[in-house]
Amino acid sequence: MMRFVIKRVVQAGLTIAGVLTVGFVLIRAAGDPVALLLPENATADDAARMRAALGLDLPLWRQYLMFMADALRGDLGMSFRQQTSAVGLVLERLPATMELALAAFAIGVILAFGLDLTLRVVGSQRLRHAVLWVALTRQAIPTFWFGLLMILLFSVTLRWLPALGRGTPGHLILPAFTLGTYELALYLRLLESSFREQETHDYVRTAYAKGLGRGQVVLREMLPNVLLPMVTVAGLNLGVLLGGTVVTETVFSWPGVGRLIVQAVSQRDYPVVVAGVLMTSLIFVALNLLVDLLYAVLDPRVRLA
């Protein structure tokens, strides 16, 4: 167990170093940032002074080592556009993204399991398919369009909820619902296919042959098996959400990481882009480790080594 964790931490370190290297190459390949940073009427002297101040006159390998050493201390340089640290900008946006991501994730997972398991135990296949159909329809609607419809209905027409920005719990409802219903459809579909797959297994017949009722077979015998694929998908999916949900954030003017990164890309603010990518990679690495550990708990056949 301990060896597994150590091995995974080393792997994670290598992954992150790789991400940083790619980031360094991208920043340098994008050209001379001095031109972006200086006003248009700057002289060649100004440019040379700035280059020296940023260490851009050093050989590339020294620049790389400096970049990596700074990164190790959590410093990815200053934003080209705003005179603050790039990492600071991302961290400042992180709470908003986490709030939205976790709310949407919770809505999706709790509703999907609640609805699917209830209808499965009750045994109404027709009702379950109807719910699935509604969820699929939601998934088929592009999120930006669905979000705009929500704003039109609940903010413009009914005037119940604020449309844009973040602050009160009321601000969270529309974006979380928009994103959460998309997640709901995803998990409902996954539950449907996982249960259908489990139904073909002989152990289900054995369980019924013992005299167990449908509820017991679904909840005690099949659900532990269904959880395995669910955990994998949920881990990856939560990573995607925490990495920023650009479309939803943009529609609702939600001050999250996704919007920050997209803005940084369009403004060629590379330190911020690298900081955002680094944060997303860290989240993915951590979630993958968590999924692997959960797997070992849920599936007795998995040995961590």
């Binding site: 017949r205 054995t206 019924y208 042959a209 005299g211 015998e221 056949r301």
Partner: protein, 345 residues
């Protein structure tokens, strides 16, 4: 129905939904199982043995198979009469318990063996405390010869070998001391040496509880060694039934004769084996008349075989055959034996 009859099946017909519409998988099946008896059921794949066993357990899947006629009575009570759901739940895993063919996949991979046997006990004896249940689980595992049961009941199926898993399945089936044990090909998936052990375990468990057994198999050797009576099924019907001695010594149906002659025997002057020509009919293409007639070498194209369904005719108190020419069967069997002996020399 005699007093000794425990399980009685009469005129059972099971229809299944196939791609080409509804087909009859089992037609007019009748048999009786006496107390303490082992009834062997033999037949090729597709003869309807397994689906009959699922019908007995009330496990036919509702959207693909249905029992359309006939009765299944356990101690005189019709299992498919009104209020079936409740009664079947009490019967399943209680009075009737089943052991399946594939011990590798028939256990839940993420639950411990102890939990899986325990849930079978709790389902039918909810008054037992958790401690009593785990003591019974350990006792059952000891009964079926799983060593160190206290430790092994906390293990998962993947930590058990195939033979051990089948022992665990037997323990699960015996959990509520069933009156009838249905063993559907219990040893097919196992090594020959393990097969013998499993049959011994089954015999011991039955001796302890007095359970009767339906032993479904395509292995005639297993029947000869373990069954009291035999039911030979072909194409969804019973073609011959009787005591093991009579069926093995004086078979009265060309299909049974063919089956017996297709097995090697060390006490026979025979080096080549008989092969029944053709293939068993597909569910949707079962022939008119006698289901076996297209493959029957005794029939020689006689018209009654392809026109009329042969009725079950009794030859002794405990031997009946569904063949129009059953009286010729012994002579044909002798001819076949000498032919096989000739090709040997």
């Amino acid at each position: 129905m005699s007093d000794a009859s425990l399980l009685s099946v009469s005129d059972l017909t099971i229809e299944v939904a196939t791609r080409n519409g509804v087909s009859t998988a089992v037609e007019g099946l009748s048999f009786e199982l006496k107390r303490g008896e082992v009834l062997g059921i033999v037949g090729e794949s597709g003869s309807g043995k397994s689906i009959t066993m699922l019908a007995l357990m009330g496990l036919l899947s509702a959207d693909s198979a249905a029992l359309t006629a006939g009765r299944i009575r356990l101690e005189g009570v019709d299992l498919y009469s009104e209020g079936i759901t409740r009664y079947r739940r009490a019967v399943r895993g209680g009075a009737l318990a089943m052991i399946f063919q594939e011990p590798m996949t028939s256990l839940n991979p993420v639950l411990t063996i102890g939990a899986q046997i325990g849930s079978a006990i709790r389902q039918h004896q909810p008054q037992l405390s958790a401690g009593e249940v785990s003591a019974r689980v350990a006792g059952l595992l000891a009964l079926v010869g799983v060593p160190d049961p206290e430790r092994r009941c906390r293990q998962y199926p993947h930590e058990y070998s195939g033979g051990m898993r089948q022992r665990a399945m037997i323990a699960m089936a015996m959990a509520n001391e069933p009156k009838v044990l249905i063993a559907d090909e219990p040893t097919t998936a196992l090594d020959v040496t393990v097969q013998a052990q499993i049959m011994e375990v089954l015999a011991e468990a039955r001796a302890r509880t007095g359970a009767s057994m339906l032993l479904v198999t395509h292995d005639l050797g297993l029947i000869a060694e373990n069954a009291d009576r035999v039911l030979v099924m072909y194409g969804g019907r019973v073609v011959e039934q009787g005591s093991v001695t009579e069926i093995f010594e004086t078979p009265r149906h060309p299909y049974t004769i063919g089956l017996l002659r297709s097995l090697p025997a060390i006490d026979r002057e025979q080096t080549s084996l008989y092969a029944i020509p053709g293939q068993p009919p597909a569910l949707t293409e079962r022939p008119q008349g006698c289901v076996f007639h297209p493959r029957c070498e005794m029939s020689q194209g006689r018209s009654p075989c392809s026109q009329e369904r042969p009725p079950m005719r009794a030859f002794s108190s405990d031997h009946a055959s569904a063949c129009h020419y059953a009286q010729e069967a012994r002579r044909w069997a002798d001819d076949l034996a000498s032919r096989l002996a000739e090709t040997a020399s």
